[in-house]
């Protein structure tokens, strides 16, 4: 456990005061976090970090695609993007110009479960930047010309996505997994975007953008007292609201997988995409599952899939597996692309690897190496304030505390090969995997029939029918 050097501890304490491991125990000491909740319910986390004269703000709002409603796909993303299109006191141009003038970087991104608004700024402009950040979150006006432009941008993306083979594959894959009656099973469409009214946007904003549904993390070169005062000044009077209860997907671990072929003529490659339900981050088997994904396809060139399909097979440029996990559900997916004539062979190679994983499990050597990577990589993950902030926020969104985070390596190290192999047997089920293959169906038809019985859809048709 030599991932944090002892000799540099004093320097570090002095300069930044964070991230020190106690080698004997494997504990990672995160920087001290001032974790307070304002009376209106806004959770505020402050971390002083004085390496450079910068401040990074992150506001996380628990609102995303999952919050629907059905038929209005794109509403969460549209609402988020419109924050910077005008406030009570600033036009869209003024916001962009003011941020640029102080050299700030404002970023807004809406994912399936959360929306994050971030600002990176030099300390000398921290207050000015913060005021703009607070304004776009607290006082957006959603002007008609902004709505029209951002909608148009999103419509263009819908059209562009029909030329993106990987996006096509994952859109269909999401539908097969979540079904058409859940917001996460449905991609944005022309109809869904056009059907969103200004009132829908304001309602969504009022329901979800509220202090009791958000948190604010600030890391950087500031003093905690002053920062808390400025946050209270701006966000203290932010009004509470009642966000609607989420309709969480109900993973069915026994459901047989479906097989869909998306026909896109003239492709010289076929995309193979597989997915199935995985455990959520609150499962007691969480760390085991992360290790399974690491060994199978989550560790780039060290993974079994990369070794078999690329390094030995020469069948693809990239293959990997992903474990996306939330507090309530998880998804395991595998993606690759290969030349048309190798589609079936590649599919079978993946199946062989899955079967091998289930029948024989992982080895002691693989587990030791995975653990070595996990503990070795910790300092790399905490190199910058932004990466510290992201790691902490992600953990909280998955239901963990900072205390859990500091025991991450200890938790991994307590896992045995038998633990992992038990979880593999319980949850990795090739027969339950949904399969999407995007390609020139005419050219690969014979191979497709050997994969199984499928339904075929033209690529320009909507996933939901």
């Amino acid at each position: 456990m030599n991932y944090i050097k002892y000799g540099f501890l004093t320097v570090l304490l002095f300069t930044a005061g964070y991230t020190i491991a106690e080698p004997a125990k494997g504990l990672i000491n995160y920087p001290p976090v001032n974790d307070v909740t304002l009376p209106n319910g806004l959770r505020v986390m402050l971390i002083e970090h004085h390496e450079q004269p910068t401040v990074s703000y992150r506001v996380v709002v628990r609102a995303g695609r999952i919050d629907g409603p059905l038929g209005k796909e794109g509403l969460a993303d549209l609402t988020a993007r419109l924050l910077q299109e005008g406030t009570l006191s600033m036009t869209s141009d003024q916001i962009a110009d003011k941020i640029a003038e102080i050299g700030g970087e404002l970023s807004i991104s809406s994912q399936s479960n959360y929306t994050t608004i971030g600002l990176n700024i030099l300390s000398e402009h921290s207050r000015a930047g913060f005021d703009i950040l607070a304004d776009v979150i607290l006082n957006p006006v959603f002007p008609p010309q902004g709505i029209n432009r951002v909608k148009k941008e999103m419509l263009n993306t819908v059209n562009m996505d029909f030329t993106d083979k990987d996006k096509i594959a994952s859109n269909h894959g999401q539908l097969l997994l979540f079904g058409s009656e859940h917001p996460l099973g449905r991609a944005n469409t022309k109809n869904s975007l056009e059907g969103i009214s200004p009132k829908d946007i304001r309602d969504f904003y009022q329901r979800y953008y509220c202090p009791n549904n958000s948190m604010l993390l600030v890391i950087g070169d500031f003093s905690k007292e002053q920062m808390l005062a400025q946050i209270t000044e701006k966000f203290g009077s932010w009004k509470q609201a009642e966000p609607r209860q989420r309709v969480q997907p109900k993973p069915d671990f026994t459901k047989k997988g479906k097989f869909r072929v998306v026909d896109k003529p003239d492709m010289t490659q076929a995309v193979i995409y597989l997915n199935q339900w995985a455990i959520s981050s609150k499962s007691p088997d969480y760390y085991e599952y992360l290790l399974i994904n690491y060994v199978l396809g989550g560790s780039d060139f060290s993974s079994r899939l990369m070794s078999a399909v690329r390094a030995k097979g020469g069948k693809t440029y990239a293959i990997g597996s992903r474990y996306d996990m939330n507090f309530d559900y998880g998804i395991l997916s595998i993606t690759t692309s290969t030349r048309n004539q190798e589609m079936l062979n590649t599919y079978q190679l993946i199946q062989t690897e899955l079967k091998k994983l289930i029948d024989k499990g992982i080895t002691e050597d693989e587990l030791v190496k995975a653990k070595a990577y996990i503990s070795g990589a910790i300092p790399l993950q905490l190199e910058t304030p932004a990466s510290i902030a992201d790691k902490i926020l992600k953990a909280i969104m998955r239901g963990f505390t900072i205390d859990d985070l500091s025991k991450e390596v200890i938790n991994y190290n307590s896992i045995t090969v038998d633990d992992v192999n038990r979880v593999i047997k319980e949850y990795i089920k090739p027969e339950n995997m949904n399969i999407v293959i995007v390609g020139d169906a005419g050219k690969i038809e014979k191979q497709l029939t050997q994969v199984g019985t499928y339904e075929k859809i033209y690529y320009k048709e909507l996933p939901v029918r």
Binding site: R149, N156, T163, Y317, R339, A372, Y373
Partner: protein
Amino acid sequence: MKSVSIIIVAISVFFIADSLNCLQAAEKTDGRQYEIVSHTLANGLKVLILEKHTMPVAAVQVWYNVGSADEPNGLKGIAHLFEHMMFRGSKNFGPQDHFRLIKEAGGYCNGATSDETTVYWERIPADKLELILKLEADRMAWLKLDQSILDTERQVVMEEYRLTVDNNPIGSMDKKVRQFLFPGHPYEFGPIGRMEDIAKFSVEDCQKFFSTFYSPNNAVLIIVGDVQAEQVIKMAEAQFGFIKSAKVPGRPEMIIQKDKISAINNAQTDLPIPVTVMAFYTAGARDKDRAALELLFNCLADGRSSRLWKVLVKDKKIAEKFVADQEEGRNNGLMFFAAAHLPHLSGKIQKNILQQLENIKTSGLEDNEFTKARNQLHSEKVFERYYAEKLASSIGYSEVVRGDYKLFYKVDEEIQSVTQADIIRVANRYFNKDNMKIVCFEPKERNFLVGLAGFIKSIF
């Protein structure tokens, strides 16, 4: 393991830099001199070290002064395929060891080939430095070139070609722009090369490429992070010192015969709407106008506060999407503006872009545009100081592409000292007819309604 797609150098390499301010700030917190240590081995390998003791992390990069521009005809793509082979085994390490050993150490590694450089990099816990130097030295000295592994990597690279060019509308447009702008020039095919050439590379071709270009005197080793410079020098001597230097052929002078290239070029795209690309040749990273051009580019096209985005997308609403890029090699570069738009609007797009450029040629930039660009570029540089890897890239870029690692200290200062007169001079130097090439992409499948909408917009 990727070929850097757009001309010359990946943006992530280009925009990374640091400043004198950084050194002062670091001195304060660090209590020691924050300065690049340069040491050249007897065999010509230059070692550049920057100590940064804020986290127990190190970034290691080996920059080889070779890229796709050095490939002879018939071997287009060999620099990139060769880069893949560098990960597939040397005398003391097996064909999958490189990635595995670094991963087990908690680190990450990769490589990238551009027109003029090939870079191998690692990000690791600092106490694993010796392992990394061993791995880098072993492949520099004793790379293994095995026929069956070459055949496998050939297939992998062909898949990369299909993935990033054949089945990727943006990638295939990128390739067409190159072919229009650089016919018969070493930049013509880019790092990914040509399929028919890739199919033919032999072990002998790779061996020859290796012995011609991969010698220590044609490389720069950069280490940034929680290391001691003196120890690093000792380690580098021990690991690399025995490797023999070799005579490396110079890169032939690369002249672009602009007058022989047609001003307007037409092609097809898989995208659903047309795209207009306006490109301007620039003089590259070693030119005295480099900083002025970067500042000008920032004002024109970087973000939602930039002139062209505001005019084309926000105010006149004639572009559906607008992107721009600026790329530099040593002595050549390219700046381009690209807009995706409804049919029949290409003329309007061009006219509006030209109008903005003409304005700058006579009146320069507004005061607040200087403020915005300077502050944005300065801020970017301060944030980059957190990342050992970005600092290493910046040092490598300064040394290999710009010609002197000491320029690393000056990037911010150069930007801050750009004047209005510089901007007007640079705009006049580059934004003129002789220097401009246009590529118009039309969608393969036409949609009547979309066309009609564009036609109406083109009138009003």
